[in-house]
């Protein structure tokens, strides 16, 4: 299952399913925002958001309740070849060993109770709406995306400006993180898309731009007319003017923006591609597409401190909508955490584990009943994994305890926060991001006073 499928669903369902409980967020007023440039500068944060589209099960990071789950589950968990508990109650075969290493090194906080009481009340376990809410950081889906809000606020407070190079990047195309406000967003604040291989479709084939008849007679007589770029070769003025004229006629919008960024991206991507990953030895990245994404994101953030947020999905590992044959989930989680473990090694190797953080979450977690198809249906409690960012995060290890809620009805077996334990609504992730980037009163954006996670001072 691909990330795009899930983000796209949200567009359809949001209009009919918007919660009535939270109608105050909408578009924020700049005057209502308390922005601290000092916090923004001190943190100097750069974030990689990893979205586990489809709704990943929380069990990899939490099998503390597995015995009770097994008692009540429709199908037996013996379906999985092996379920071993690690020291902190993680699923050893599903990335648990890597989680333990990250926890032991103080590189990660594993939150086990990202739970939504509000969705429970509203009977909402829909991919589309939950994804949209999480990515907009509000139960009111009328507003803009988290990244859009941050972009506007940083810009209006002079923290970034038109000289900032690619402040927001996605490796997975458009998503609700970048959902627009009703007012137009300045071109340089819009997200730029790249791919993990740093393919460069932005580049126009030289021969197609340097047709001899594009050059004037005078240009053809220039000494460097036949030379390569390195030796002074140049594009014909006709082609350059062609771009300019077309852009004068192109109406404002995404296509004009894409054309505007094309030439810059052509060079930017080449520059990133030249950047080498240090030798990570035994911590080197596993060979999969998701690893390439994370590696590329870190190379990009390292090379370009102007980039503040990069979003990506877990494409390459597979989707997380494990309604059936969930055995693959184990392999996927192992691949995910092997990669995250390498990513931390990469960050340390380039001295960026203080500034760059990685947040990993989904639209929701899953039901823990192993259903008739040996899968899990939608749930309402998930894990949040926060890595790195050690200059501003004080990692807490494992946070939160769960209990099993046995409803007695078919296929309705849930994990829920244990009474008195630390838990939070998924919107708290947005609150934390806002705070991290200097917004002192995130409640104005989230439409509710959702707690800022306890790792942020």
């Amino acid at each position: 299952m691909k990330r795009r499928d899930f983000i796209k669903l949200s567009v359809l369902v949001c209009s009919t399913l918007a919660s009535t409980d939270f109608l105050q967020a909408k578009e924020f007023n700049e005057d209502d925002i308390n922005f601290s440039k000092a916090t923004f500068d001190d943190n100097g944060a750069q974030t990689i958001i990893v979205n586990m589209y489809g709704g990943a099960s929380q069990l990899a990071g939490n099998i503390t309740n597995i015995d009770e789950i097994e008692q009540h589950s429709q199908n037996s968990y013996s379906y999985f070849r092996s379920i071993s508990k690690t020291e902190n109650g993680c699923w050893k075969e599903a990335g648990g060993d890597y989680m333990e290493k990250l926890l032991a090194n103080g590189d990660m906080t594993l939150y086990r109770c990202c739970y939504s009481a509000i969705r429970e009340k509203n009977n909402n376990k829909s991919h589309g709406l939950c994804t949209e809410q999480n990515q907009k950081g509000s139960f009111d889906t009328n507003g803009g995306g988290i990244v859009t809000n941050i972009a506007e606020i940083l810009d209006s407070n002079g923290a970034i400006d038109s000289k900032t190079v690619m402040p927001f990047v996605t490796l997975d195309g458009d998503s609700n993180f970048f959902a627009p406000l009703n007012r137009p967003l300045k071109s340089y604040l819009k997200a730029t898309t790249i791919d993990e291989n740093l393919d460069n479709p932005y580049k126009r084939a030289r021969w197609s731009v340097r047709e001899w008849f594009y050059y004037t007679r005078q240009e053809r007589e220039h000494e460097h007319y036949n030379d390569t770029d390195e030796n002074g070769g140049f594009d014909p003025k006709f082609s350059i003017d062609m771009d300019a004229l077309a852009q004068r006629h192109n109406p404002n919008g995404k296509i004009k923006n894409a054309f505007a960024k094309r030439a810059d991206l052509e060079h930017f991507i080449d520059e990133i591609a030249k950047k080498q990953t240090p030798d990570l030895g035994e911590n080197s990245y596993p060979d999969n597409k998701f690893s390439k994404k994370i590696e590329t994101a870190i190379k990009l953030l390292h090379k370009n401190p102007d980039t503040k947020i990069v979003t990506l999905g877990t494409g390459g590992l597979g989707g997380w909508d494990d309604h059936s044959n969930a055995r693959d989930y184990v392999t996927r989680m192992e691949g995910l955490f092997a990669t995250l473990h390498s990513a931390m090694a990469h960050l340390k190797a380039v001295g960026k584990d203080g500034k760059i953080n990685i947040m990993v979450f989904a639209e929701f977690g899953r039901n823990v009943n192993l259903n008739s198809a040996n899968g899990w249906d939608h749930g309402n409690l998930q894990n949040l994994y926060v890595l790195g960012g050690k200059d501003y995060f004080s990692h807490k290890g494992v946070v939160g305890e769960t209990i099993v809620d046995v409803t007695g009805s078919l296929n309705r077996l849930w994990l829920k926060p244990k009474q008195g334990t630390y838990w939070f609504e998924p919107i708290s992730i947005a609150s934390t991001l806002y705070k991290l980037y200097g917004i002192e009163n995130p409640e104005v954006l989230t439409g509710g006073n959702f707690k800022v996670l306890n790792i942020l001072a």
Binding site: D5, L9, V11, L12, S15, N124, S324, A373, L410
Partner: protein
């Protein structure tokens, strides 16, 4: 043919009944439904006295004739409306309509059709009439000499064939339209074959698509088509557990995301599962016997669930919303709801009732703007430009769609964002249209269908008789050629600054006159007539390439604009 297919469908239904998936008797435990008094089933209202549509199963009417356009509630562009537009507006509207249908005509032919005064009704009526030689067409697109036939699933041959059909079809007729409807539906969340999933298999692509075409051909109603699709293995490979399938069917077709309905659907579907062995749909005999209250009815089995789902009034609203969102992505939620309400009030019972109503509407043809899909751009350009494909061109197009994130039939939830315009996706879109279409000129002397130079637009596209020119006036002739290219591709003349741009590069002052520079001189004279013809052709080619390159950099090329 119709009777044969009808029998085939009955066989499917009977098979389900005999396998215990449905309830053929009236006993509650065998899966009948009890109406709880909510009159939410309106599926059999329209044609109650119509002999044709009396074939039904528990209130689910199988066949419906398309509504006459006079029944449409969404205001339509008719001949009068169209004819009252300015010449430039007519061209834009005509292009918008044809591009939407992945079709196009060379400029001269299009102008003649517009001038007839019956352009709209001719197109619309044509969609109801069979005029394609289907046997020829189907053989042609499977001809390995013309379209390379791949056997490996890696190359997704099923998608290639479907795309090749749109390129090869010569007439905008009933068969073409049924294919277009099927293609449109398979791009949406409702019928996407979802070949990206590990559980799906490439034959699912042709199964979903071809079943749609076959059922449309015999006037099957949209409820019946959906009912058959939901119960298919193809659909179960997409949504694979009772709770998953039940949830998604409710959400996709009814836009019902109430989680409390999901366990009810799961209960009704409890004996349905996708067996890991070959990803096979397996329906057990341990069907549900407890009454379940859904859709204002009491249902029992999975078959009850699917049947009553499509019979419910929320179905029409749900599927209409899906299609309105697909064609009007930039309208506000309220505007989309208003459009959908009008369509629903016309009581559509076929997919054509919704789709035809949309694409001939004023709201769509005059007031809508959106990014144009790559299929709309490519297929229409191919027809307008006399574009010749080489053996693997369609495969390359299919791959390019993937890069643009507009892949056909790939995504689990369809193309909800039909034309992604993030910088990377658009860069691939622009690259394909620029390099593989607009700047791709076919070498007339090339006869090898595998050769790179075989594909591209042909010289006939820019024959001297296609644009106004005067060998005594270079400036007028350049202007004529530029305008011809603009009108063909964009449906408008070049603006004055655009004309000046090309003029300043291609015309020079010589002997006190404004004349073509030598490399652009389309009237060059030589003693040798063959040499002269070649030079004229080459010089014209340079102008055409330059203008088309500029056009490739305009957002209009990738957009359907409002016609103001």
């Amino acid at each position: 043919m119709q009777k044969r297919f009808l029998n085939y469908l009955f066989t499917i239904i009977l098979a389900f009944l005999l396998l215990g998936c449905g309830g053929a008797t009236n006993s509650a435990t065998n899966g009948s439904t009890i109406n709880e008094g909510n009159s939410n089933s309106d599926s059999s209202n329209n044609n109650a006295n119509d002999e044709f549509s009396k074939t039904e199963y528990k209130g689910l009417v199988f066949y419906h004739k398309n509504l006459p356009s006079s029944n449409y509630k969404l205001e339509q562009v008719d001949n009068n409306t169209f004819n009252s537009l300015s010449g430039a507006q007519k061209l834009k509207v005509a292009n918008k309509l044809l591009n939407t249908l992945y079709f196009g005509y060379p400029l001269k032919e299009l102008k003649e059709k517009i001038a007839s005064g019956t352009f709209i009704s001719d197109i619309q009526n044509g969609l109801n009439v069979d005029s394609t030689d289907r046997e020829w067409l189907e053989n042609y697109i499977l001809n390995d000499d013309i379209f390379r036939q791949y056997t490996s699933r890696y190359y997704l041959p099923q998608v290639n064939t479907i795309l090749a059909r749109f390129y090869a079809a010569k007439k905008l007729d009933k068969y073409y339209y049924e294919n277009w409807v099927a293609y449109t539906l398979t791009q949406t969340i409702m019928f996407s074959p979802a070949y990206e999933l590990t559980n799906t298999h490439t034959p699912d692509i042709s199964n979903v698509y071809n079943h749609l075409v076959n059922m449309l051909e015999v006037d099957s109603g949209m409820r019946f088509i959906t009912y058959v699709h939901m119960m298919s293995e193809d659909n179960w490979r997409r949504f694979r557990s009772p709770e998953d399938n039940g949830r998604e069917m409710l959400e996709i077709y009814l836009q019902d995301a109430n989680d409390s309905h999901v366990p009810l659907a799961g209960q009704a579907l409890k004996n349905w599962s996708l067996n890991e062995d070959g990803d096979t749909l397996e329906v057990g005999l341990n069907k549900n016997t407890k009454p379940i209250h859904l859709f204002g009815k009491t249902i029992y089995t999975g078959e009850d669930f699917y049947r009553e789902l499509v019979k419910s009034s929320a179905f029409t609203r749900g599927v209409t919303n899906r299609l309105v969102a697909f064609f009007f992505p930039n309208k506000t939620a309220q505007e989309r709801a208003d459009i959908a309400s009008k369509i629903v009030s016309s009581k559509p019972e076929t997919w054509q009732d919704i789709l035809t109503q949309i694409i001939f509407s004023k709201e769509y043809l005059l007031n809508n703007h959106r990014a144009q899909s790559a299929e709309e751009t490519f297929f229409s350009l191919a027809k307008k430009m006399d574009y010749r494909v080489k053996r693997d061109s369609i495969l390359r197009f299919r791959e390019a769609l993937d890069s643009m994130h507009q892949a056909a039939m790939k995504y689990k939830l369809g193309k909800i964002e039909r034309v992604p315009l993030d910088t990377l996706s658009f860069a691939y879109y622009h690259k394909f249209i620029r390099m593989s279409v607009l700047l791709k000129h076919a070498d007339a002397s090339q006869t090898n269908h595998d050769a790179w130079s075989y594909s591209g637009w042909q010289d006939s596209f820019v024959d001297f008789d296609k644009f106004s020119n005067d060998s005594r006036d270079d400036v007028v002739s350049l202007r004529g050629l530029v305008n011809y290219l603009f009108e063909t591709i964009l449906g408008r003349d070049a603006k004055e600054d655009e004309q000046q741009f090309f003029k300043s590069h291609m015309i020079e002052q010589r002997d006190g006159k404004e004349l073509f520079k030598s490399e652009f001189n389309i009237f060059v004279t030589r003693d040798d007539p063959q040499d002269e013809e070649k030079r004229r052709r080459d010089n014209k080619l340079r102008i055409v390439i330059s203008v088309l390159d500029y056009i490739s950099r305009l957002s209009e090329t990738y957009s359907q604009m409002e016609v103001k």
